[in-house]
Symmetry: C2
Subunit: 337 residues, 2 copies
Amino acid sequence: MEIYTIRDVARKAGVAVSTVSRVLNGRPDVSEETRKKVMDVVEKCGFVQNRNARFLKHAKEPFAAIIVRGRRNMFLNDVAEQMIECAQGLKTPFLVKYIDEEADEFEAMRQLYADRRAGGFILLGSRVDERCEMVRALGVPCVFATVDASGSGLENASSVCIDDRAATRAMMDRLLDKGHTRVAVLGGCREGDDIFAHRYQGAMDSLRAHGIDYDPDEYVQTRFSLKGAYESIERIFEKRQDITAVLTMSDSMAIGVVRALRDRGLRVPQDVSVTGFDGTEMAGYYVPSIATVSQPTAEIARESVALLCEMLEGGEPRHVTVDFTMMEGESIAEAIR
Amino acid sequence: MEIYTIRDVARKAGVAVSTVSRVLNGRPDVSEETRKKVMDVVEKCGFVQNRNARFLKHAKEPFAAIIVRGRRNMFLNDVAEQMIECAQGLKTPFLVKYIDEEADEFEAMRQLYADRRAGGFILLGSRVDERCEMVRALGVPCVFATVDASGSGLENASSVCIDDRAATRAMMDRLLDKGHTRVAVLGGCREGDDIFAHRYQGAMDSLRAHGIDYDPDEYVQTRFSLKGAYESIERIFEKRQDITAVLTMSDSMAIGVVRALRDRGLRVPQDVSVTGFDGTEMAGYYVPSIATVSQPTAEIARESVALLCEMLEGGEPRHVTVDFTMMEGESIAEAIR
DNA sequence: AGGCATTCTGTAAACGTTTCCAATATCCGA
DNA sequence: TCGGATATTGGAAACGTTTACAGAATGCCT
């Protein structure tokens, strides 16, 4: 396929390049006749603008970037998707930047900034601490989504999240109220993951309030993902065989756990209860359906975009907490053992 | 954060811009002393190259793009991920372009071509027919991954896939050999989806070979996704309640089906058998685990990259078929009704 | 000391846009 | 008929790189 430049189009249409540019950008000061003439040529030869040249020229045009690390976390991907929907038609265009789990996030953001002066970022997922320095260095408005950044002390960061601690406490309460006392916790305190840390606190809050003596060494595992959860159960059972419930910090982990239990000949929920977190679609489709904490993805998405826009217009950063919903599921039952 | 240009760096380091450029691009013709001086400044002020300017300049540098539509299809996302792994360290850099399900793919490819002269594409997923015209118009080497494009007549397209028809036939054979005769088919002949069309043919091959009289109107549904499959079961059961097996064309569909059956009080596999397709991680973690056809993602990824490279170096297009593996699963049992 | 390689560095012209500014054409009222 | 306002259009200078090409410095050999 031939590549035409704006110059070629100008020549073919018998006008100046500046005129073609004006037509392409929908400027009002072009006569209808000229516009038509130019568009005809554009159509005919399938001209496509070169965005490198375009962005090189006016990198000033403000825009915002949504950073998503990893394609595995369906929950975060869903939130990101809803963010772009929310951002449709706003004055500042939003774009999503997917980066690898292991990629250098700072590098990616600096590149976005260098290339196009990204005016603001929405960062999904945890690890506020790690990201603080970066956000401070960039000095651009940022919104942490799904994690509380109110304690970060950053001047340029808002955040929106549920009360993870309270949610996990509520979930643990549910298990304990059903008579469970030996509850494994999966995902707790994973290194550098502040969301999981908050959730872990919540679980501990509940155990403490119920006066349960708890030895983390015996009950807590910190791996994640389907496979990680599966293997965690194997490890837990090396130490204790009398577990009657497993509280996990994501729906995938819960699924890994159910499979692992089932492979050990245990039934869920008759023998062991299991809980998830996030309220993903799969939690409802799994058999048994997973009791979970549903995060209001649409609201988180909407709030994140709104908070960023506020800051872009000079507003102060704010930290918003949205409500979660406890979802019933077939994966929980009364403790019988 | 301040934005520095290569010019600023040159000034601060007391050298010419061309020297900085050479250092940045690792050219050999720079003295060690100068290189160090420049790098110090780069480090100190956190200079980041502007890629727009870079790519604007030498758009000639050949590269290849992997196009992935939609983030929902985990199977395709996995394959894409493995492709980039395969492509690490090759002379031609590969990049992945994620586009929305509904987005204009042609537009995206033309943009890639206009911006950087993409020298080749790998297209994942079905819809060869729709894409033919586009591939022809672009005239750039393309590889269709996971779908057979040998019948397209394109001069510039290779393809790599399993024999979908044979795989589905084998799967249906398994069901029929277990005594099932009333088998619903989900995903069959979805409009414009050639992969599903091939699989549908395979299912019909098997039914025919087993001499089973089959009325598609009663047994076949063409929606997909978790939710679509769930609803398809509801529709099927409006017509027939005596189904003993459901053959689906993806693992997600199988999961939606199991959930739907279970919600009707039917057990899988005791009352109804269910089969999936693709061999995704979730199929193995589901309870019951889903009997499925495992596609060799690594091999498909590797072959796709290899085929594209071949064509980039002037080779003829080829159409490669790779082997699938039938995966056992708890979701199948003998027909008893 | 002069000539010639051998390194290294600087100048300037691209790449394809956008946009400021000036130039031209058109129209209106006096 | 003219002055001036108003619509259009064109010319040319950026934007931040890369890369020929030419130039300067150094070292070595005669």
